[in-house]
């Protein structure tokens, strides 16, 4: 082996310790940053005033209205994290917490300005609600985000109509409702409710008197429901509902 080659090899071997040291430092910093990002959603739980009277917002309810734990979700149909929650966590929430009578679950539209077709999606769901199929449309919208979202099309009416057809809705009635935009007031009301409650991102959940930003796994969701069960049952959206009913009169 030549002198230059021996020098190069010696240099590489002498670099091993600092190399491993730098790799460890980068790994620790990277892992800490990811860990922070992952736990941020549960760390940002804030206590909110359960007695804030609601505006004209009207969430979509599933479960017994007087269930011991009141849950509100503020979500945008085009938001990927909302889609993940709706498709992965929510089915378990419904079967294990809503259908058992523990949770009353309300969905509020929170259309974000950067999503071009989210208003159309909220409108589609509201019109499906008129025919008693809000939750079916809600689930289908989240499961098919890439078919109708702002990046897939600039004319969402066509793919949304296809979803309505898939659900077996009365298409003529649904299309008439969709085109009239008669539910935009309700959607706007729900959006205003999110802003009034200082919702910063989607999805955001209010479980009992805790506000949690970001998608949740079922275990995380259940832990907050258990916590709400222990502390203040029936405290969250009742005043909101009462105010809404008052506004309707």
């Amino acid at each position: 082996m030549g002198k230059a080659a021996r020098q190069a090899k010696g240099k590489k071997q002498s670099n091993a310790k600092p190399f491993i040291g730098i790799i460890i430092v980068v790994t620790v910093i990277g892992a800490a940053a990811l860990g922070y990002a992952l736990t941020r959603s549960s760390a940002t739980a804030t206590t909110v005033d359960a007695n804030i009277p609601a505006g004209p917002a009207e969430g979509y309810l599933i479960g017994k209205a007087d269930a011991p734990v009141q849950v509100s979700e503020f979500a945008d149909y085009e938001c990927p994290a909302c889609g993940v929650f709706a498709t992965l966590t929510e089915p378990d929430v419904r079967t294990r917490l809503v259908e058992t009578g523990t949770v009353a679950y309300r969905f509020y539209d929170f259309p974000l300005p950067m999503h071009k077709n989210t208003w159309a999606a909220s409108n589609a769901a509201a019109c499906a609600s008129d025919q008693g199929k809000f939750w079916e449309m809600h689930d289908l919208l989240f499961a098919t985000q890439d078919r109708w979202n702002g990046e897939a099309t600039s004319n969402p009416r066509k793919p949304l109509t296809e979803l309505a057809r898939q659900l077996g809705l009365d298409l003529k009635t649904w299309e008439s409702c969709f085109d009239s935009k008669k539910h935009y007031g309700r959607i706007k009301g729900n959006q205003a409710e999110a802003e009034r409650r200082m919702v910063q991102q989607t999805p955001t959940f209010i479980i009992g008197n805790k506000m949690l930003a970001g998608s949740l796994s079922f275990d995380q969701f259940k832990a907050w429901v258990d916590s709400a069960l222990k502390s203040a049952p029936k405290a969250d959206t009742k005043p909101a509902e009462a105010a809404r009913k008052g506004a309707e009169k």
Binding site: G2, K3, A4, A5, A8, K9, K12, Q13, N15, A16, F19, I22, I23, V26, T27, G30, A31, A33, L34, A37, L38, R40, S41, E78, C79, P80, A81, G83, V84, F85, L88, L112, P113, M114, H115, Q145, D146, N149, G150, E151, A152, Q201, P203, A213, G214, S215
Partner: protein, 144 residues
């Protein structure tokens, strides 16, 4: 060594974007909404998998090959330098295509994608430089 460190940083960057895409991270610390626009576009998937996952695999491959080529028997191997240059060259092409899509199709720029593009370009430049130095070094030793 520098290549391995830069690639490792890339692994974490791409993992962050992947966790967001999979819904484990609620929102990207982006400052503007453009990151989410890019991440929710139909071009955020490639061959049925999130683009961020391809990024993780790319950076992980670069890290493993560069680490293996830093020490031991492979330290003197020209093949390692060649492999790094080829992988990072592919990364530059893919990254260039993604940047084009952001500008021409999505009309939004995700700053994490920009950082990743810079990292990929840096990895390619470093790989090419190392390969050339190594080849020249071995050529010199051959004539010694």
């Amino acid at each position: 060594m520098t290549i391995a460190v830069v690639a490792l940083a890339g692994v974490f960057l791409a993992t962050y974007l992947l966790l967001y895409k999979l819904g484990y991270i609620p929102g990207l610390a982006c400052g503007t909404g453009d990151c989410e626009v890019v991440q929710s576009s139909r071009w955020a998937m490639f061959l049925g998998f999130p683009v961020a996952l391809w990024g993780v695999l790319f950076y992980a491959a670069m890290f493993l090959v560069a680490s293996a080529g830093s020490f031991g028997a492979l330290a003197e191997s020209l093949a390692v330098g060649r492999l790094l240059t080829v992988i990072s060259g592919g990364g530059v092409s893919f990254s260039g295509w993604l940047t084009y899509l952001e500008l021409a199709e999505i009309h939004a720029i995700c700053r994490y994608c920009v950082v990743s593009a810079v990292l990929v370009l840096g990895l390619f430049a470093l790989s090419l430089r190392d390969y050339r130095l190594h080849a020249a070094e071995q050529g010199a030793m051959g004539t010694e």
